[in-house]
């Protein structure tokens, strides 16, 4: 069985079983999240970590938007700020017509069941002293009006949905493997029939053979329940597989956003090209011949970003203008946006 792993997949005829319309479910505009840097015993503010520094994008109902970037690029902060787990510094997040930024606590709480989160580390995100049944049933208790009998039935149904044995409902998280624990986290996230789930590196802590199981489960649930995902990951290969559109982040900014095959087949931003080039290809024949773009240096600190384009310190193509002016977002092709002075439209 030869695995043709490195070959490019055909760009056309991407058929997906689920319908993705043009209806926008989540709309993010000019979102900023700055964390204050304080000093001294009076916690005097001496600066700010500009984790997310003005991003705008839409997520359509039923689609998966992939969000890729390196550590410190702000991708997790976007997810958390969108769900109002962090208070936005500036900007707006409209979820199905409701402005979430500044929404009153009661109204926000009524919206919460519709937007959920799956976390990276299935060891840290499940309470070790709660049984699986109470972990998965907790959202039902908080937001539902069901009897304990109904809850029990729903928990068993949910465990079945995510491929766990419902008779294990009274076990504790440590009795499960990493992949199974992530299934528990997914069951909890879908318990209240949400529309939208932020998946924050859901497979990063899992073994290779288990990653595919969890991704397949997430795709299955998406088809079954009509879910919309924001899939945050640093694994470009997996994002290419699961996402409909992909946004590339660097230092708090979105550098490029396009349909998945456009982004991988025709990347316009030098950072996107470098990122793709850095990802090793599991094929020794391809690896032996391909020319790699090796970026120099490290990602700058988000508390002290360079003037101009955030990528200018590492960009192989940077010109004077890149050090002075922040590139404005523009469409270089239908649905293909990029923030770079040099990208040609």
């Amino acid at each position: 069985m030869a695995v043709d792993a490195g070959a490019a997949v055909p760009v056309a005829n991407v058929s997906r079983s689920r319908p993705v319309g043009n209806e926008v479910l989540v709309s993010v505009r000019g979102l900023k999240k700055h964390f204050p840097v304080t000093k001294g015993m009076f916690r005097r503010k001496v600066g700010a970590v500009r984790a997310v520094d003005g991003v705008s994008f839409d997520i359509r109902r039923g689609e998966t938007l992939g969000l890729v970037g390196e550590s410190g690029s702000g991708k997790s902060t976007i997810g958390r700020t969108m769900l109002q787990l962090e208070k936005a510094t500036e900007g707006s997040v409209v979820f199905d017509g409701i402005e979430l930024v500044g929404l009153a606590a009661g109204a926000l709480r009524r919206t919460r069941p519709r937007m959920q989160m799956v976390f990276q580390d299935p060891h840290a995100s499940l309470n070790p002293r709660m049984t699986v049944s109470s972990i998965v049933g907790e959202p039902l208790l908080e937001h539902g009006k069901s009897s304990s009998r109904e809850r029990q039935e729903r928990v068993e149904e949910l465990l079945g949905l995510v491929g766990l044995d419902p008779t294990h409902a009274n076990r504790y998280p440590h009795e499960f493997s990493g992949g199974q624990r992530q299934r528990i986290g997914i069951a909890r996230a879908i318990a209240l029939n949400p529309d939208f789930i932020v998946c924050d590196e859901p497979i990063a802590a899992l073994d290779v053979s288990i990653q595919a199981q969890v991704v397949n489960l997430m795709e299955h649930l998406q088809d079954l329940l009509g879910l919309t995902y924001l899939f945050i990951s640093h694994d470009l290969g997996m994002v290419r597989h699961i996402a409909d559109r992909v946004a590339v982040m660097y230092l708090g900014h979105i550098m490029e956003l396009a349909d998945v095959e456009d982004l991988y087949g025709d990347p316009r931003h030098p950072y996107t090209r470098a990122l793709q080039s850095s990802a090793p290809v599991p094929d020794p024949v391809v690896e032996a011949t391909r020319v790699k773009i090796i970026l120099e240096g490290d990602i700058p600190s988000p508390s002290d970003p360079p003037p101009g384009c955030p990528f200018n310190t590492r960009c192989p193509d940077a010109v004077d203008r890149c050090h002075e002016e922040i590139p404005v977002w523009r469409e270089v092709a239908p649905g293909h946006g990029v923030a770079c002075h040099l990208a040609d439209g």
Binding site: M1, E70, S71, V208, S209, N216, E261, P284, E296, D298
Partner: protein, 333 residues
């Protein structure tokens, strides 16, 4: 199967951990050779025994509860597993260098980078302070650290993750080792930084001509770096092949499943191929094939006997009853 005189010959290495709730069979009879200047990739998932087997070679596992039950590791005409501790200390960090996964926890946070590099030089190749400093400086230049003079005075927390890993490599290379063992050195790094480190290691290997054992779970990294692949599962090597042959035609069902489950192997819009089930429980003694519960080709013998690693072609070894060229029909691909 390698060039005439291997630099390292490991045979039947077996490591167990005697825990309160039973014995963990972490490494079960691992045997392989490493040729001078060769780069070998050890691929496996967490719990496959890839790190423990390499740590066992230098007796770096905590003992107890760890116990090296048996085996031999011949390096420069001596057995690493039975030699005295004083002799072993001369090998560790001297003739065999080690790089660990997380540079933040393997560097001492209260000592300067310069001190940590010269520390191993002092032990293995003593010299005057000014000479040592000079060599530390050369090493920092070698691993591509900008403004090395200042960096000698830096503490680990003042460096980024990529820079710390470069320091780790400098420490490991300080005494010009014949073998460099790298345990997932790029797993904690971002891809653009990983690419830098991989290029650096390839470059250094050519410059210094050392053999490298690269432990990883990343099949992409292995493809571009190594000469030969060893796949571990359940504490055993289940397949060994030259890198080109391995990717062109993996023969162990686990290797096949692993390569097929990569997202790059799936067609758009299709589900990924996955390996069903969970990783093995190493508390069970290895009396049957540890992959049998997840294997699509499992048959009676797999559950009764543990297949040993045997030579199936001039370049390949395999531990599988189905396709060992000894028994049964060669089907399943």
């Amino acid at each position: 199967m390698n060039s005439p005189q291997p630099v390292l010959q490991v045979s039947d290495l077996t490591t167990r951990f005697n825990m309160e709730d039973g014995t963990v069979h972490a490494v079960n009879g691992v045997s392989f050779d490493l040729a001078d200047g060769e780069v070998v990739g050890i691929v496996g998932e967490s719990g496959s025994g890839k790190s423990v087997s390499m740590m066992s070679l230098l007796r770096l596992i905590p003992m107890p509860p760890g116990e090296i039950v048996g085996g031999e590791a011949i390096f420069e005409d001596a057995d690493l597993l039975s030699m005295g501790l004083d002799d072993l200390r001369k090998v560790r960090g001297g003739r065999i260098g080690f790089i660990f996964q997380d540079p933040m926890t393997s560097l001492n946070p209260v000592l300067t980078v310069g001190y940590q590099i010269t520390e191993s030089l002092k032990v293995h190749q003593p010299g005057r302070a000014s000479e040592l400093r000079e060599r530390a400086l050369d090493l920092l230049k070698l691993v591509g650290i900008p403004s090395p003079e200042q960096r000698l005075q830096s503490f680990p927390h003042e460096l980024s993750g990529g820079m710390r890993q470069r320091v780790m490599i400098a420490v490991a290379l300080a005494c010009r080792p014949r073998i460099l063992v790298a345990d997932e050195p790029t797993t904690a790094l971002d891809v653009t930084i990983q690419a830098q480190i991989l290029e650096l290691v390839k470059d250094l290997r050519e410059k210094l001509g050392m053999a490298v054992i690269w432990i990883t779970h990343d099949l992409g990294v292995v493809a571009g770096l190594v000469d030969r692949v060893l796949v571990m599962y359940g504490g055993q090597i289940v397949e060994e092949a030259p890198v080109d042959e391995f990717y062109a035609e993996p023969r162990h069902p686990y290797s096949q499943g692993l390569l097929a489950s990569l997202p790059s192997a799936a067609m758009p819009g299709q589900r990924l191929v996955n390996i069903v089930g969970q990783p093995p429980d190493l508390r069970a003694p290895p009396t049957s094939c540890s992959f049998a519960p997840r294997c699509p080709h499992v048959f009676d013998r797999c559950l009764q006997e543990n297949p040993t690693l045997v030579q199936v072609s001039a370049t390949r070894r395999l531990a599988c009853w189905l396709d060992s060229g000894r028994d049964g029909p060669n089907h399943g691909r």
